[in-house]
Symmetry: C14
Subunit: 92 residues, 14 copies
């Protein structure tokens, strides 16, 4: 069991868990925000423009934490500096 | 137990858990959003067009986190860079 | 304990857990959505057509995350690329 | 401890856990939906036909995730491709 | 520790856990449904026939997930294909 | 550590945990149902006959999942097919 | 570490955990039922006879799941068939 | 590490955990029942006799599950049949 | 690592955990009961005597489960029959 | 790794965890009781004497479970009978 | 790995966890008490003196459980009797 | 398994988990804040400017904790001082 | 793996976990207190001085538990008596 | 596996987990506080200055616990006294 494949395994497992765990919070948070937005529109239809605009800004903020996770997962799979370095020196 | 099969096992297990864990948050979040949408339509039928439109935008945002998980799972199964690299050098 | 059977074990266990864990979220989310739909119909019978249509779209979105899990489980059992590749080279 | 029996053990354990864990979500979701249906009928008896119809469609959707789990469990016990393949080559 | 007894142990443990875990969801779901049914009857005694009929259909759906678990447990104890196959070849 | 005693240990532990875990859900579900029944009787004393009858049917359904667990536990202790088979061949 | 003492240890640990875990559900369920009974009596003193009778039937049902656990624990300590069988053949 | 001391260790640990875990449910359940009793007395002082009597019956039922745990713990410490049997044959 | 010190370690750890875990339930239950008592006194000052008396009876019942745990912990530390027996025969 | 230091380690770890875990329940329970006391005083200022007295009795009862834990922790650190006994015989 | 450093490690880890876990309960309990105090002052400004005094007594009681944990942590770090004793005999 | 690859594995796993776990809290917190903001706008449209401004300040504060996690993850992947130091001395 | 580095590792891990776990309770408790303070000010603006003063005293009490954790973490990193003692005798 | 890299691994893992776990509490607490602030502004626009000021003080207090975690994480990565000391003596 050489070092290179261990780094690979760690990267695979971590990438998957990162985006999996990282999708729980944003999905629930966005669900709550969207849900309240619909309720507010039903309650105050005249303000639907302001509500929708605020909702989109909020969703963007919440989605950003999911994006962080996705970026880290992608880096670990496709641009992993540890793998690259060890790979060029042909493994430990 | 060679390196190649370890990478394979890690990919299989991670791919499954990624989409499994990653489906909990979006499913609950969408359930909440859809549920509130139905309630809002019942409360304010005249705004059903605005409500439905906002709901679809919100569902797309929430679904996106599930898509991230699905993409990572598919990459790990069908386009795994670690497997490909180790596979071409015939395993450790 | 050869590599082939390890890949097989990992596939079996992962396939089962994927669909098992992946069914919790959608089932709860759909239960919430259906439950609210029934409440809304009782509250606003005249809008039952709109409510039912929105419910079905929402259920389809939620069910999609369960489908993702089912697809991954099926791929792992019947079209596992790692098993196929190792199987053709007769195991490690 | 040969490969064949390991595959068998993994199949047994996974089949049981799959249907066990997979029954929690649908059972709770259906309980919620049925519960609300009864409440809606009591509130709006005139709409009991629509409510019942919508309830059955919803229950079918929710039950489908339990069916997925049951199908995977049955496949693992009675039509396990990994067991069949290893069994024909007489185990590792 | 031969293969046969390992398969047996796995079957015993899995059968017990399957029905044990699998009874939590249905029991809670049925409790919720029955509880709401009683509340609805108290609220709308004239609809007790419709409520009771809908309740029984719902209980049957929820109970079905418990039945799945019971069936799998019984199969694992009394009609275990893996045990039968290994048992006839006199263990690995 | 022979096979026979391992089967015995697994049976003992599984039997206990099965009935222990399997009693949580039904007990809570029945508690909820009984609790609501008492509330409904207080609210609508004239319907106490219907409420009590529906309660007993519901309790029977919920208790059935506890019975499943008890049956499996008893089978594992007093009519364990794996123990019997291994016991007759005098252990592995 | 002979087989006999392993069976003994497993019996001791399982008996304790069975009754310990098995007392959580019934205790909470009975607490809920008793609590609601008191509330119902305060609300409808004239129905206290019916309420008390229904409460006792319900408590008996809930207590039955605790009794199952207690019976299994007692069987494991004082009438353990596995211990008896192994004890007569003087351990494996 | 002889068998006798292993049985002793298992008995000590199990006895403690049994009463510890077994006190959580009854304590919470009794807390709920007492709490509701006080609320009911404040609401309907004239029925305090009936309420108190029903409360004591209920507390007795709930306390019984704690007593089961205490009995099992005492049996394991002071009247452990496995310890006695092994102790007389001077350990395995 | 002789038997005597193992028994000692098990006793120490179990005694601590028993009283620690065993204090959670009673503390929460008593908190709930006291809290409701204060609320009831504020609501019905004239019944403060009855409320206080019922509260004290209830607290005694709840505290009893904590006492059970404390007794078991004290027995394990100061009157441990297993330690005494092994200690007199000078360890295994 | 001699017996004496093992007993010491077990005592240290147990003492810390005992008071740590044992402070959760009382702190939450007291928080609930104090919180309700303040609410009751605000609601019924004329009864503040009775409320305060009942609160102090209740707090003393709840605090008692924390005291039990603290006593056990102190005994384990400063008056540990197992350590003393083993220490005088100069370790196992 | 000598005894002295093991005692040291256990002390370090336990001291940290003790104060960490021990701060959760008091912090939440105090948060609840303070929160209710503010609400009560807003509701009944005239009683702010009584409310504040009762709050401080309550906070002192709750804080005391945190103090217990802090004292134990400090004893383990700076006045550890086990470390002192072993340290003077120059380790095991 | 040399030191360098162990440091690499630890960095990969930690970076992923840091951002994954660290995204749960902020996402839920922001979801709550955005949700309430929408509700407040619907309730008091005239104050939407103040509400939006306060919301953005709050979101920035909450997001900052996610940023901390992202910064730590990035440092661990791209500017890891331990990796750099060990890497320059060519591993342990 | 010498004693000195083990003490170091334990100190590092414990220091981090202490402040991490120890920040959960105070943060939630302070969030609750601040949240209620804002609500009280909105409800009773005239008492904002009293409310703010009481809030600050409360926050100080809650923060104190976080400070305890921070102090212990700092002691473990910068003034660790075990490290100092072992370090001066040049490790075990 | 030398001491230096073990210290490094522990520092990396602890730094990440510290800030990850430490961000959950503050994020949720701040979300609650901000959320209530928005609600209070909508309810009492005239007091928005006082509310905002109190909110910022509160946010600063809550954020401080996140800062503690961040500081500890940074110390562990960039100013780790254990790493520095061991590093200068060239590892154990």
């Amino acid at each position: 069991m050489d070092s290179l494949s261990l780094i690979g395994m760690a990267s695979i497992i971590t990438a998957g868990l990162t985006i999996a765990i990282g999708s729980i919070g944003p999905a629930l948070g966005e669900g709550k925000a969207v849900s309240q937005a619909l309720s507010s529109i039903a309650q105050q239809p005249d303000e639907s423009a302001t509500i929708t605009r605020t909702l989109f800004v909020g969703l963007a903020m919440i989605e950003s934490t999911a994006i962080y996770c996705f970026v880290v997962a992608m880096i670990l799979i496709f641009a992993n500096p540890f793998w690259n370095e060890l790979s060029t020196v042909a493994g430990g």
